[in-house]
């Protein structure tokens, strides 16, 4: 970093204002203009309660609002609920709604819409996130701007569960047509969707945040091919693209494209199936950790655009993140010793499954496999197409080791409960009664200091038991025309372009 700042300071002196402008504050926000944003996949429908896909929320979070909002740090902020209070028993939440909010079709937003939306989010078999809201016992609407939600049991994460795109507020009575004709209260209103081509949104002039949004129009262009997506930004056919592969950064910058990076709420790891031999032996799992040079993986797989993690918690969740990276330093000799103790003096042979089309995980796996050889672990690589990976590994737990990533959540328990012994998608086969007890405690503890302690214990357990070889949390890389400013990433699936503007040319 220092090496980069020094030459620019010299340049600034040499070229005066011209060079200074490069490192100065971004230009003042300006209203107006249009943005063509390249996305990888066509939305899986625009109904926020009927899709679990990122492709939906990248668009839909601009059309809808949730009761609770969040920012780049993952803090919970007033959204359509201006304020809230939690009863001392931790069961009843009283939400005061923001007055004067209207849907894009002109109808006023009120308590009835909240009650309807909460019910719609909880519909089993229809809402992929129904399980998150199964905890709601009843919803009352004492007046037009007040909603009382009573839970079946206390939950410290309930408020954060109201801050995601899939907790969007939709108009009372809205049915299946939301999938193709979404109506929300958000900063942009829906104009048209041509499947596999583009979605167009226009500015909502009545948005409840004064002066926002800045853009008059957003066009989400669907460009599935990576090369084509990069080319469209370079050629200026599209103004902005996210999920830029790390290897394209230098090339884009030299073509005059602005490239920014943001920490993301993601985690990747070498998942280990502890129900399978030899991985049920803690010494073997620790050996795999010692045999992995994670810095080299980070560098090789994503050109260093990310940060190492030592447990299942990304650094972006700063309140709960523990730096446990020093626990298992890269040490092939130590790995061999541990394997010998476990009864594998000559190492062993195994299969490392890698999911297509996720290049980051496939590359990570190739590097990991070559590193493991030094410790005597001979991993044969098998690449599985995504649907097949989900079937074999995630659903049937039929594997030993695989490289995979997960998307983080705002609340630490939503992440950490994957490792509960009775959890359906605990494909790691990790079962530790102490862990289960701590999860239950953290889930119901509203006291932040106490909760932090418990979460720290959970994080340490996942590290001590070497449940996975934790790899890293990658950065989001975003490319745009030089006049696009104000973008940031939220630590939730999807995105909002509320603050994005085009500077005067």
């Amino acid at each position: 970093m220092r090496a980069r700042i020094l030459p620019s300071a010299v340049l600034a002196v040499c070229f005066g204002l011209t060079a200074l402008a490069v490192h100065a504050q971004p230009p003042a926000p300006r209203a107006g203009g249009s943005l063509r944003f390249a996305t990888q996949a066509d939305p899986d429908g625009l109904d926020p309660h009927r899709s679990p896909a990122d492709s939906t929320f990248i668009v839909a979070m601009n059309i809808f609002d949730s009761l609770v909002a969040t920012n780049a740090k993952g803090e919970l902020l007033p959204g359509l609920a201006a304020k809230w209070s939690i009863a001392p028993n931790g069961l009843t939440y009283t939400l005061s709604l923001r007055p004067g909010v209207t849907f894009h079709d002109g109808r006023a937003f009120g308590a009835g819409d909240v009650k309807y939306s909460l019910a719609r989010m909880s519909e089993k078999g229809k809402s992929p996130h129904a399980a998150d809201y199964e905890i709601i016992d009843s919803v009352e609407t004492p007046d037009r701007l007040t909603v009382k939600v009573t839970l079946k049991r206390p939950s410290a994460r309930f408020l954060s569960d109201l801050a995601y795109g899939w907790a969007s507020m939709v108009p009372e009575g809205a049915g299946d047509e939301l999938r193709r004709h979404p109506v929300g209260t958000g900063p942009f209103r829906f104009v048209e969707w041509v499947p596999d081509s583009h979605v167009t949104l226009a500015r909502n002039p009545k948005y409840f945040v004064a002066g926002r949004p800045y853009l008059d129009e957003i066009v989400f262009g669907v460009v599935p091919d990576e090369t084509a997506r990069l080319t469209s930004v370079k050629a200026g056919d599209l103004d902005m693209a996210d999920r830029i592969p790390a290897q394209a950064v230098a090339e884009l910058r030299s073509a005059g494209v602005k490239v920014d990076t943001f920490p993301r709420n993601t985690l990747s790891e070498v998942a280990i199936n502890q129900e399978q031999k030899p991985f049920n032996d803690l010494r073997v799992r620790r050996a795999l950790f010692h045999a992995t040079d994670r810095n080299a993986v980070l560098e090789g797989a994503v050109f260093g655009f990310g940060r190492l993690i030592g447990t299942f918690m990304p650094p972006i969740i700063s309140e709960y993140y523990l730096d446990l990276n020093g626990r298992y330093p890269y040490d092939p000799a130590k790995a061999r010793q541990l394997l010998a103790e476990a009864g594998y003096p000559n190492g062993f042979e195994t299969t490392l499954y890698l999911p297509q089309p996720y290049a980051e995980f496939v590359k990570s796996g190739e590097i990991v496999a070559s590193q493991w050889k030094k410790a005597g672990v001979r991993a044969n690589l098998v690449v599985l197409e995504w649907g097949a990976w989900l079937d074999k590994i995630y659903k049937k737990h039929d594997y030993g080791v695989t490289v995979i990533g997960h998307v983080g959540r705002l609340d630490p328990i939503t992440l950490l409960e994957r490792f509960k012994s009775k959890y359906n998608t605990n494909y790691f086969g990790y079962a530790n009664p102490a862990y289960d007890t701590l999860i239950a405690e953290a889930d119901t503890t509203h006291d932040r200091a106490r909760r932090k302690e418990v979460v720290a214990k959970l994080e340490r357990l996942l590290s001590d038991d070497a449940v996975c070889v934790w790899l890293f949390s990658t950065d989001g890389i975003v490319a745009s025309r030089p006049d696009v400013h104000g973008y940031s990433e939220l630590p939730v699936p999807g995105n909002r372009l509320l603050e994005v503007y085009r500077a005067a040319k």
Partner: protein, 315 residues
């Protein structure tokens, strides 16, 4: 052309379609992958899977699922997509204004380029022009259309900036823009097929040029252009028509990749989406549709023989 010939062709057509639908259905269920699990991905709460399978109807017995699909075909829906929750036929019809002009243009380009080159090479048999045509078509056949597509993007979109790098503008919005967006993909797809047309046309022209009636025509003093275009070309077209008819599969297959590279919202993209998401009814409907299209076109090709060469229909 006899009615019996027509009836026999139609019967084999229907039998093929029935076989295609059963095989597709069974193969899909054997391939690993659960559409409900793919919808949920690896980041949604664990206990929703069974409920979603039930809501989608993928937990029903296979025979029931197949019969449901057959019923849907009878209603003209071709099934209901699991992901889009809409009749497959609607999804297909939406995509046709992209894929039909794309493949049509590609076919046109392949004929406009392929036929004259093939005829010319045959006339100049053994000369440098002939060898150049052979070499060119050899290279054309070897080049994958996706690579050609990327090269075209680099040249015409990134360097020269004449054409858009990808994307789509509908015909109703601007026919000119729609055509501009189809130009590069159609060339990328068409040139590869043109190479096949050149080889086929050249070979069959050479064969026909050896025939007695050509020698007779020349001996009678018929002008050479008339010999080539009236007597030889008409007869040399039969094998070429066959090949072009068979290329429909290649064209649609090529469209899958080309539409992906040029971000065109066509049938090919829908096929890829359906396969990756294990949207069984959608794949089933698409394969059925493409089979109908291919078989239908082959049927027309067969009929065209009878027209080009009356001896075929009487046999």
């Amino acid at each position: 052309m006899s009615g019996r010939y027509l009836a026999a062709r139609l019967a084999s057509l229907l039998a093929t379609l029935a076989a295609v639908s059963v095989v597709t259905f069974l193969v899909l269920r054997v391939i690993p992958g659960d559409p409900a699990q793919i919808i949920l991905g690896a980041d949604t709460p664990g206990d929703s899977l069974r409920e979603l399978q039930h809501a989608l109807g993928t937990d029903r017995p296979l025979a029931i699922q197949y019969l449901a699909w057959v019923g849907s075909v009878a209603r003209g829906e071709l099934g209901v997509s699991l992901r889009h929750q809409r009749p497959v036929i609607d999804l297909i019809v939406e995509r046709l204004p992209v894929t039909l002009p794309l493949t049509g243009l590609a076919l046109l380009i392949s004929l406009v380029v392929g036929l004259p080159v093939g005829v010319h090479a045959a006339r100049r048999h053994g000369t440098l022009a002939d060898y150049a045509a052979i070499a060119g078509s050899q290279i054309g056949q070897a080049i994958p259309s996706f690579w050609l597509g990327i090269m075209l993007i680099l040249a015409f979109a990134l360097e020269l900036r004449w054409l858009p790098s990808g994307g789509w503008v509908s015909w109703s919005q601007s026919p000119w823009q729609a055509l501009r967006h189809l130009a590069m993909p159609a060339v990328a797809l068409g040139l590869v097929i043109a190479a096949t047309v050149v080889r086929m046309e050249r070979a069959s022209m050479l064969e026909v040029l050896q025939e007695d009636f050509v020698r007779t025509a020349r001996a009678k003093g018929v002008p050479e252009p008339a010999v080539i275009y009236r007597h030889t070309l008409a007869n040399a077209l039969i094998p070429t028509v066959t090949i072009v008819g068979l290329q429909v599969g290649t064209l649609l297959g090529g469209a899958i990749i080309i539409e992906q590279i040029f971000a065109l919202p066509g049938l090919g993209r829908l096929v890829l989406f359906a396969v990756f998401n294990r949207d069984w009814p959608l794949i089933q409907g698409l394969v059925f549709f493409i089979a109908v299209l291919t078989i239908g076109l082959n049927f027309l090709v067969d009929l065209s023989y009878a027209w080009l060469d009356p001896r075929v229909g009487d046999a």
